[in-house]
Amino acid sequence: MLKSKHILVLKSYCRYYSTSNNIAGPLKLCIIGSGPAGLYTANKIIKKLPDTDITIIDKLPSPFGLIRYGIAPDHQEQKRVKNLLEKTLIEHPQTIRFLGNVDMNTDLNLKDILASFNATVLACGIEGEKKLGIPGETLDCIYSAREFTSWLNGHPHFQQKIFNLSPEKKDVVIVGQGNVALDVARLLIKKDNKELAQTDITSKAMDIISKSAVKNIHIVGRRGPVESSFSTKELREICKLPNVQTWVNDRSIIDSIDTQSEPLLKDRIRQRVFQIFNDYLKPIPSEGLPQNDDKVNLIFHFLRSPNEFIESEKIGNSVSKVKLEVNQLIRDNETSDTKAKGTGQFESINCDIVFRSIGYTGVPIEGVPFDYKNVKVPNFQGKVLQKVNSDNQYIDGLFVSGWIKTGPTGTIAAIDKNVEETTEMIYLDYQNNRLDLQKEKQGYKHIIEHLINTHKQTTNFDDWKKIEQEELKRGKQLGKLSEKIIIFDDLKNIININNNNNNNNS
């Protein structure tokens, strides 16, 4: 399987580091997080080392993480990756176990997990969210875009949130130039869309969205069209919606871009994103945006940074305007990176609702180093380093996959290769006897005993299938794909959670 020169390198490596007993038993692996990164890790490890005994922990009762709660409900074709990942679980009932409703920090601790398994993979994503840190940010009707998409996807942690989308609210500002910003805009534009109502969006959320009457959606970003993080698919999709008109705050920003400039020519994605902007965005007419037709105005504001949210004079504590500072781009000639710099000029736009979608910050895990600058756990090709920049010094048996490995960017398309590298690293460490294989590890048994002793209610894969069946059944009754169960007590009745701890042992 390996090329001969690879084998040479491996051989010399083995000579140095392997102990006399190099015949290893089956690997006991713990994966923390059952989103795309975690399940892809299981999928790829089991292909390379079919005997591996895998325990997958998730803090939610159901698997699939952002596939279930992050990808927008109108992107069902993207959610299909669930089938591929679930197949791995179905095909290995004896060796891959799902353990839901278990929080790594409060129900277990990482030290204990590391001691109980030969290897542990953190695949729990990046959860902290950046704030703007400007005056007025705590006013009513200023929301997090990520919480909004989690809420309408039925994420159990966000069902208490109230999103006020009442019909008198006409102007929405979305701060951020990434795909989550477009998700929010698209779902608001699709409020009358029958197909959306038939997806797995919660009925409650669909009801609220369908009663909204948003007319103008402003997408505000501090940099220009070339620097935005939109992906071409999402951008093309929203610009092509039938009931939308697309505008730009200042057409000269687009027209002044030199399409033959070096950075743009080299970057295919940015080039194609720019092309879409160039084709679709019209300058705002001198008489103002049309307000009396049946289309939604989608306005891209480039080179603008929110400076302050201004309170409504009529409705106390509610946002009514956002003050924006006009930026100019400063290009660093050495790195060809651009930075937005304020010019001291200001303008303001009306807004009744604000969604913030400006990226993530890390929430560090106890006992694991964290690189705050790049928002990830420091690692070399998936193997966790002892500290940031500690070249070649690793925490034995600890690996990372997904966003926590590379930082919180990249769509599900990038996860495949991200994980491939990590699993190769685990495989190499396994082959070279770096994973403490001589010592008998308790693995799953230790963890489940601890959870039973502390009376923790957990879910397993069969429970998930019961949940899913019930959700499909409820969906069918409502004429939609699925109706997610968002109340934990409801869920407990469905899976008879009190009895299942015993069934977990197989």
Binding site: Y17, Q78, R80, L84, I412, D416, E420, R434
Partner: protein, 165 residues
């Protein structure tokens, strides 16, 4: 027992077997069924096959012969070539990204905007990148080489440093 069954029929059985796992390969299934029943009456069925080579992630080769009209992702799945297909041919992911030998790349119809949008997200995109699910076999592709991108092909040589104690 299986050996006595014709290849198309065997593949059909394989796909139905897969569908027991409630995988929604329905779209693939439907097209396969149609094609198999139509080609089974075709006496010169042999002419309909295209033989080409996959270069796998580890550098090994898999030579396959599959009917005209099949897409490269389907072919990979039927021949145990490790090519994902996360979105099941709906052009919503880039996990079936492959490199098509340049000489044959030029014989393919231009990628659509939608395919290009997904290729934008592909790992290690090259001039001859395509989505496997959008490459449909035809006679002109006889003898082509399709290479799977690998994130780890060079890891042994370039990357892996023996850890210190």
């Amino acid at each position: 027992m299986i050996k006595s069954i014709s290849t198309p029929l065997r593949n059909l059985i394989k796909f139905q077997y897969n569908s027991n796992y409630s995988l929604s390969f329905n779209r693939l299934n439907a097209t396969n069924t149609q094609r198999y029943f139509s080609t089974s009456s075709n006496k010169s069925g042999k002419d309909e096959l295209v033989t080409f080579t996959f270069i796998n992630k580890d550098g090994s080769k898999t030579v396959v012969s599959e009917p005209v009209g099949t897409n490269v992702l389907e072919v990979a799945h039927r021949n145990d070539v490790d090519l994902e297909g996360a979105c099941e041919c709906s052009v919503a992911c880039s996990t079936c990204h492959v490199y098509v030998e340049p000489k044959f790349y030029n014989k393919l119809p231009e990628p659509t905007d939608e395919e290009n949008d997904m290729l934008d997200l592909a790992f290690d995109l090259k001039e001859n990148s395509r989505l496997g699910c959008q490459v449909i076999l035809k006679k002109e592709l006889e003898g082509m080489v399709v290479t799977l991108p690998s994130a780890t092909r060079n890891m042994f040589v370039d990357g892996y440093k023996p850890p210190k104690h």
